[in-house]
Amino acid sequence: MTRGSRLHIPHPPARPGEEPDFSYLETSPAGAIARPDINAKTADIEHLAVELIRVLDDDHNAVGPWDPRLDPGELQIGLRHMLLTRIFDARMQRIQRQGKITFYMQSTGEEAVSVAQGMALRPSDMCFPSYRNQGLYMVRGRNLVDLMCQCLSNTRDMCKGRQLPIMYHWAEGNIFSISGNLGTQFPQAVGWAMAAAIKGEDHIAASWIGDGTTAEADFHYAITFASVYRAPVILNVVNNQWAISTFQGFAGGEKRPFAARGPGVGIPGLRVDGNDFLAVHAATQWAAERARRGGGATLIEHVTYRQAAHSTSDDPSRYRPKNDAAAWPLGDPVERLKDHLIKIGEWSEDRHEALIKELEHVVQAAWKESNKYGTLTEGPWLDNDLMFDDVLKELPPHLEKQRAELRALEE
């Protein structure tokens, strides 16, 4: 029956054993694209959804109208946050491999997205992240011990043992709780932004999902409600080319960039080199200012690459060439910012090495401290009673009964 199948099936350009091939990727030269006024009409800037906003050129210079002209000091801070994110990820990955936490997800190669965006937002702006935005926590300065204790589900776990590792949240830091269900936070961010507008406040919301997740209903709800109510929100699609084993073509990225979904419903779409710290920062600033001044939502697609496995449960060598990441045409975000800083004389290989050492030490010290609050195998442990709290605000009678039943059993 399928002899003559005419169904189109998207194909990634290369499978294991084949040479990496990124010829499908459409790019623009750094500096080539004009930066429109933040009040530009959506209809006049549709091209931004298909071109690629880039600032750092191949010689490591920042060029063109999107250059955010950040202080070298700020760039160094950005580099530090990205490196910290990467080193933290690498350490936690090893820790998972040693069986000390149950699960982990790295953001390797995508650090510029969270870090540059986190820095371009105000601390009072509300973030609705996915599970690959740990960089936001670095920018906003959450104690690493808190993050690690969450991953350990130990007595200091912010989630009181209820969530998988990395499903952080931080109310004071304005970072929302992560769900396991993909995409649900996207329209929630729009609702949050609608409330900010209703209250007449100028805080904005930002949210992140992956390329694969754009196929979910929540993506559609988010862009639709954001368009209808002109909600002050930045909606980010982190196109790291993969959704577990499926290539972005399976989410409809083959025919048209994800950023183009924005103009499709009347909100601007920006397609940005997600490995270019400066471009990400600039695009975010543009969208944030537009939102704050009442111009409504922007959809930003960050073109980047998932260098690591999807999660500790995944093995990408089963579905893509081993050396894929190295061949990615947009390079590595940490390397590119480092090279730029060196180029402008604000950084050096030595300082870089020293910083890595320092951050490894910081991470190591945090890990040591975290273990004091308990591990998978060693106490102290969370009190079992906590399992029954927070289902509702007050413990209802049936849970009181179940808690008593468990207590009795444990005796």
Partner: protein
């Protein structure tokens, strides 16, 4: 005090809350300028403005999701789902998000959304304007599920729900919006003004969540029911001449087990009546709990009268609807047992 039908009582509850608490907002399809397809929000946009009584795109999932986000940002949203039959596109946001947010964030985030939705049949609505899916939501930890059976309760309970920091799915049995209904479609419609619970205070009052109400005291059997079926059960017990204790559950989850158990221990017999389909309906939980708690007092098996296990058929509405005949048959069955 005023005479109100259920629509007016619900409207009054929202009016009172919009007036008292500037964080209260309403969002839903046709709720704003139009005042809702059942007119429950009639006049509210005119009074409180279109930024607080908000017409929404037709996207139940988006309505629930944005309501969640608004709730996280300090508002107290009331989301209307036009018919309970259309709540399913919002199911993931309700179950995975609204219900679990407080738990997964250890109490640091929560969203006090009240979802109002008309349910039940008997209005010739066919399979997609007649459903009673409340049982499904009672299985979801982290939600409150409420269904009033009269205007007085509707207002008091809805105000409690809006004020509650827990998320609530609030089902409104639309067959009794305009008057109590004893299950006989051939009788002329009766207005709420003929019913004691059609007297409703104008201002603010609450009925606590989690408490059932004994609407008839009796000694021979306990009928546990809610929504439209409260009235059908009352009429049936009367017709059958059975001295039934009739309990209106009102708060389905969390459930007021104590009131139910005390009654069944007293009467020794129990019938559960609801309009939703029987298999795995909420009556199953009620029966399972009652038999466990009252086993030694039961003189007959607990009976269930419920919708047949089919979709709600347009033409067979009154053969489908669990009317007095079926309640009476079940009552006799149980009374005659042994």
């Amino acid at each position: 005090m005023a005479q109100m039908n259920m629509i007016q009582a619900l409207n009054s509850a929202m009016d009172v809350m919009l007036d008292r608490d500037r964080s209260v907002v309403i969002i839903g399809e046709d709720v704003g300028y139009f005042g809702g397809v059942f007119r429950c929000t009639d006049g509210l946009q005119r009074k409180y403005g279109e930024h607080r009584v908000i017409d929404a795109p037709i996207a139940e999932g988006g309505i629930v999701a944005t309501a969640i986000g608004m709730g996280v940002n300090g508002l107290r949203p009331i989301a209307e789902i036009q018919f309970a039959d259309y709540i399913y596109p919002g199911f993931d946001q309700i179950v995975s998000e609204l219900a679990r947010l407080r738990y997964r964030s250890a109490g640091d985030f929560w969203s006090p959304v009240t979802i109002r939705t008309p349910c039940g049949g008997g209005i010739r609505g066919g399979q997609t304007h007649s459903q009673s899916p409340e049982g499904i939501f009672t299985h979801v930890s982290g939600l409150r599920v409420v269904m009033p059976s009269n205007p007085y309760d509707a207002k008091g309970l809805l105000i409690s729900c809006i004020e509650s920091d827990d998320p609530v799915v609030f089902f409104e049995p639309k067959r009794i919006y305009n008057g109590p209904f004893d299950g006989d479609p051939d009788k002329p419609a009766i207005p709420w003004s003929t019913h004691a619970k059609g007297e409703v205070p104008d201002g603010h009052y609450t009925i606590p969540l989690g408490l059932a109400e004994i609407v008839e005291t009796g000694s021979e059997i306990t009928i546990i029911t809610y929504g439209t079926m409260v009235h059908v059960s009352q009429a049936a017990a009367k017709t059958a001449g059975i001295d039934a204790e009739i309990i209106d559950v009102r708060s389905l989850a969390p459930l007021d087990v104590d009131t139910l158990v005390a009654s069944v221990k007293k009467t020794g017999r129990c019938l559960i009546v609801h309009e939703a389909t029987r298999f795995s309906g909420f009556g199953a939980e009620l029966a399972a709990t009652i038999q466990e708690e009252c086993f030694w007092n039961l003189e007959a098996p607990i009976g269930r009268v419920a919708g047949w296990d089919t979709p709600y058929p347009h033409a067979f509405e009154w053969e489908y609807f669990p009317g007095q005949k079926r309640v009476i048959a079940a009552l006799s069955n149980i009374m005659e047992a042994k």
